[in-house]
């Protein structure tokens, strides 16, 4: 699942040659891989009804306009705080729920509005693994009948018979095939999750969407399941979408990662770009909040970004950028104009007017919102300094790659972004013109192609 593993797989493949193609794509190869699933403008709103007449009075905008694609053989990780719409997204892309709008294409075919009947053959290719290893297995059914259910539902008779195939699957996920006639309660959490995985793999799916597959498990058991999913991906050439709130797990398993906030994708990038140089302030805040298992690094509060309060309600999300109520960089434009998800660096898409580790996208807008000033009190000093430095450095880099005149403007802009952080309160006198945006727009277009 991780790049390192894939590189290993390539080496192994030289000897064994049995490893499926997709799984052995080399590092950085994800860009060239074929698109398996493409999601465009996807929304899922849950109506809120009230009164006798059950009039609709509003909607929970669980997923509110997201675009992404999943490439063959890769693992796309999806992270975000509770309630940001991860599970809903998972259920909609597997068509367990109908989207409100938008399209879902699987292998180039639009499956958004397929009827249940037409969807049936599709169901074999797309499977879901659920969060709760306790709740997702029927306690009255034996393991054998649980894992063989997909064959019955699809009317498929595997080679050698159902029982033999189920036993093979149980063995594949590291369970004793003799446990065929046992019941879920006789198994531990980790074993139950393996049963869920065996069931999901029964019909040899192409895409597996796993919603928090390990979060209910203890770390030691979690590692068993992570390694298992990793091995299965290599063996069977699976493509994964793994939804999780644990950023360490997601980093370990993913090739690319989508960060969600209030029903939107705010950043979508290669694993390494995202963890080494996150561009969305929210991504950065999320990552800084993960406790590092190294007591020597304790007390480095200056590297921390604490977010104030809770995620706002998805019923009435904030205007403009949804993060503006908690963001320490928010300016007027963040309140009024929704930032688009743009590919600012190759392989890194971000929706922010004032990204981290990159040139400002709205440098003319320098006056922080009052809430942002309050929020910045909870941002470690080291973060502010580093953020100013890296933004300036990146801006200079971008500028260097551009024609001379553009470069001049960009470097002015870089200085501003540095100054802006020091004297954030006062509006800048030397506001650069909107043309300073040009270099980024260019680079965005060139990488988009």
């Amino acid at each position: 699942m991780s790049e390192t593993n894939k590189t290993d797989a390539v080496e192994d493949a030289a000897g064994k040659a049995a490893i499926p193609q997709q799984a052995s794509a080399p590092e950085g190869g994800s860009a060239e891989r074929e698109v398996l699933l493409r999601v465009t403008g996807l929304t899922k709103h849950f109506p809120i009804k009230k009164g006798l007449l059950q009039r609709q009075v509003g909607a929970v905008k669980a997923v509110d306009g997201i675009d992404f694609e999943v490439r063959k053989g890769e693992t796309l990780g999806v992270v975000g705080e509770s309630g940001c719409g991860k599970s809903t997204m998972g259920r909609v892309i597997t068509r367990l729920q109908d989207p409100t709008s938008g399209t879902i294409e699987f292998e180039g075919r639009d499956i958004t509005r397929l009827s249940t009947g037409k969807m049936r053959p599709m169901r074999r290719d797309v499977q879901m693994i659920f969060q709760d290893p306790y709740g997702s297995l029927n306690p009255r059914h034996t393991i054998g009948s649980i894992v063989s259910a997909p064959f019955r539902l699809q009317g498929v008779e595997p080679e050698g018979g159902v029982k033999k195939e189920v036993q093979r699957l149980l063995e594949l996920v590291g369970l004793n095939p003799e446990h065929y006639n046992r019941y879920p309660h006789e198994f531990s959490g980790g074993q139950r999750q393996r049963i869920g995985i065996a069931r999901a793999l029964a019909l040899k799916p192409k895409l597996v969407v796993a919603d928090e597959p390990v979060s209910a498990l203890d770390v030691s058991i979690q590692a068993q399941v992570v390694n298992l999913m990793d091995d299965l991906q290599e063996e069977l050439g699976l493509t994964y979408v793994i939804i999780a709130h644990d950023l360490s797990v997601v980093r370990h398993v993913s090739d690319r990662i989508a960060v969600m906030y209030l029903g939107k994708i705010v950043e979508l990038a290669d694993r390494n770009s995202l963890y080494e140089a996150p561009m969305h302030p929210y991504t950065k805040a999320l990552m800084s909040a993960v406790p590092v298992p190294d007591p020597k690094r304790r007390g480095t509060k200056s590297e921390r970004i604490l977010l104030r309060g809770d995620v706002p309600s998805p019923i009435a999300p904030p205007s403009g950028c949804r993060f503006h109520t908690r963001c320490w960089k928010a300016t007027e434009i963040c309140k009024t104009t929704e930032p688009q998800l743009l590919e600012l660096k190759p392989g890194q898409r971000v929706a922010c007017h004032h990204p981290e580790n990159f040139a400002d996208q709205a440098p003319q807008d320098t006056v922080l919102l009052t809430a942002a000033k309050e929020a910045s009190e909870l941002v470690g000093e080291a973060v502010l300094e580093e953020s100013a430095e890296t933004s300036a450095a990146v801006a200079a880099e971008v500028a260097a790659a551009e024609p001379a005149e553009a470069a001049e403007e960009a470097s002015v802009e870089a200085e501003v972004s540095e100054a802006e952080l020091e004297t954030a309160e006062e509006p800048e006198s030397e506001e650069p013109e909107a043309t300073a945006e040009a270099p980024e727009t260019d680079s965005q277009e060139s990488t988009d192609k």
């Binding site: 203890d218 979690q222 909040a289 993960v290 304790r298």
Partner: protein
């Protein structure tokens, strides 16, 4: 000579009596045993656990689910009153023994001298009463003040824990709060009497990292201000590294390793501790090729494996000579200073395995 080698040459001490620093401990737990009589047999949830916590210090207790963390903390709080529970051992709080004490006396200490934040905030807050009412009551039980004064105090506490508009939210019901807010309200309730001992049982497990960071920060600040002793129970080694001064690793109802946080991460001695460290994906390191899980599943607490309870899952079970690992239960032995570990492996083997086999893979 390394510290470990030195320890290996000396007579290993055995930890049945008090560790050295017991005198200045605010809380001392000695040989705590909590067993439950059930239809399936006797559940030895906690089976001989000892530790100390000083004022201003934080003890982190880690271990997988079912290892006895919550039962231990409820035992310290004197909350095992079930007819099927047997509690033995000693719990000394500020010089006063609690296990043999009058239950009414222990009740008086609870909420004032010691307080607990529970794993599940809904179990600690009553769903039918306003959040504010519950905090006010918790304060008035131990302080003879008017409702008005108590209310002001409750608002102040809600504000401290970061509830926005506390004067308004104080009249809300628990179900009207989000998970994170509920957890914070419960912390406000636990802290309203400035307890000298705070036990937090997985206070952040159900929460997002962003809220977790807020809450850990809060606990740290309050501890600094009041010099409280804190026990932080968690299964997240990241949280432990962040907040604990000492760590106690539990396995199958017993302590398998205990020591200062730096040593537990730098020179862990017990194969189970190695297993925990190897299982954990790390955000601060280059991604390892593979995680190193602990094989198998947690032990039964009714039929605890013979000898070392970890032996069915331990990759090194065959290393100590003879069949000792399967027949003799290892006692905690002093590695050095406050660092203790319960394993039959020789100190040389432990040092070698950790430095050559485990540490390089983390």
């Amino acid at each position: 000579m390394s510290k470990l080698e030195k320890a290996a040459l000396g007579e290993p001490a055995t930890d049945v009596a008090a560790p050295s620093d017991a005198q200045d401990a605010f809380l001392s737990v000695r040989d705590l045993r909590i067993h439950f009589n059930t239809d399936d047999g006797l559940v030895k949830s906690v089976d001989g656990v000892s530790f100390d916590v000083r004022r201003g210090q934080t003890l982190g207790i880690v271990g997988e689910s079912g290892s006895g963390k919550s039962v231990t903390s409820l035992g310290v709080m004197g909350l095992h009153r079930a007819a099927n529970a047997t509690v033995s051992g000693e719990v000394w709080l500020d010089g006063q023994e609690l296990i043999g004490a009058d239950p009414d006396e222990v009740r008086r200490l609870r909420g004032r001298k010691m307080a607990m934040i529970f794993q599940d905030p809904l179990s600690a807050m009553h769903p039918y009463y306003k959040v504010g009412t519950q905090i006010v009551e918790a304060y008035r039980v131990h302080n003879k003040v008017s409702k008005k004064v108590a209310r002001t105090r409750a608002i102040e506490m809600l504000d401290r824990v970061g509830i926005p508009e506390p004067a308004k939210r104080i009249d809300g019901y628990p179900h009207e709060f989000s998970g994170g807010m509920r957890q914070r309200a419960m912390i406000a309730m636990a802290l309203v009497n400035n307890p000298e001992l705070l036990i937090a049982d997985e206070p952040t497990t159900a929460l997002d990292v962003t809220v977790q960071a807020q809450i850990l920060d809060l606990i740290r600040d309050l501890q600094k201000e009041f010099g409280s002793a804190v026990i932080m129970i968690t299964h997240d080694l990241g949280v432990v590294a962040e907040i604990a001064d000492d760590v106690l690793v539990m396995y199958g109802g017993r302590c398998v390793e205990r020591g200062p946080v730096g040593e537990i991460f730098d020179q862990p001695q017990h194969p189970y501790t190695w297993g925990l460290l190897g299982s954990m994906p790390r955000i601060d390191r280059d991604t390892a090729d593979r995680l190193i899980p602990v094989k198998g599943s947690p032990p039964s607490l009714i039929n605890v494996p013979s000898g070392c309870a970890f032996h069915p899952r331990c990759p090194y079970a065959d290393l100590p000579k003879g069949n000792v690992t399967r027949t003799v239960r290892p006692e905690l032995e002093q590695v050095e200073g406050g660092h203790w570990s319960a394993c039959h492996l020789s100190a040389e083997d432990r040092t070698r395995i950790w430095t050559e086999e485990i540490a390089p893979k983390l």
